[in-house]
């Protein structure tokens, strides 16, 4: 699966959230703070099409875009990449790292524990 650049990812998120959409619709839904012009969004869409992570079907004179890959799949792959790169493929150090950085609230801890318990059964 092709890598998706940071900016492109923002476009994918829009389409994962709601699809299919026209280019204009996507542009309208991209987070305000990106400050992107419609032209920029169109460039992103073309590149994502070229990467094969989007498909399009013609609707009259326009295209309707929709994701060609599942969000969970991409996220899993990208997470795996980071883990490989920074933690030698081991997940525990990542959790440890997050814990040490106070990124885990007590609620997080409880939630993860519940999750793990469910996994074991």
């Amino acid at each position: 699966m092709e890598r998706i650049a940071e900016g492109e990812y923002a476009v994918m998120e829009v389409l994962w959230d709601e699809a299919p959409l026209t280019a204009a619709d996507v542009a309208a839904r991209v987070p305000e703070d990106r400050g992107w012009s419609l032209a920029t969004v169109k460039t992103m869409l073309s590149r994502l099409l070229a990467k094969g992570v989007l498909t399009h079907e013609e609707e009259g004179r326009r295209y309707l875009y929709r994701p060609a890959i599942r969000r969970e799949d991409y996220v899993a792959e990208e997470s795996g990449r980071l883990i490989d790169r920074m933690f030698g493929g081991r997940v525990t150090p990542l959790v440890a790292q997050l814990a040490a950085r106070d990124k885990l609230t007590p609620a997080d801890i409880a939630e993860i524990e519940a999750l793990l318990k469910a996994l074991k059964s």
Copy 2:
């Protein structure tokens, strides 16, 4: 803190492992499969210096390079970035994601549980 590119990261790893080192030493320690020439490693070192994540001191006519940032700090930041981007800043979905992808072995689960228990006390 400046971003470190993927290739540059490989150089940082060498220096996090052992420092200070000369450019030639770093080149010798970079993983074989990168297939980098000494020139390439020197470019990386310059760029890392420019980014302020390395320091150098002169040793005769050469430099001795050493990290200017701690590995844990960088890793924490980079992990945080991924989590923000893909999981909206919440850690639990990341763990859930990894679990769902069978990235967690029973040993991992036990280890994380122990870790969390320690955190609570």
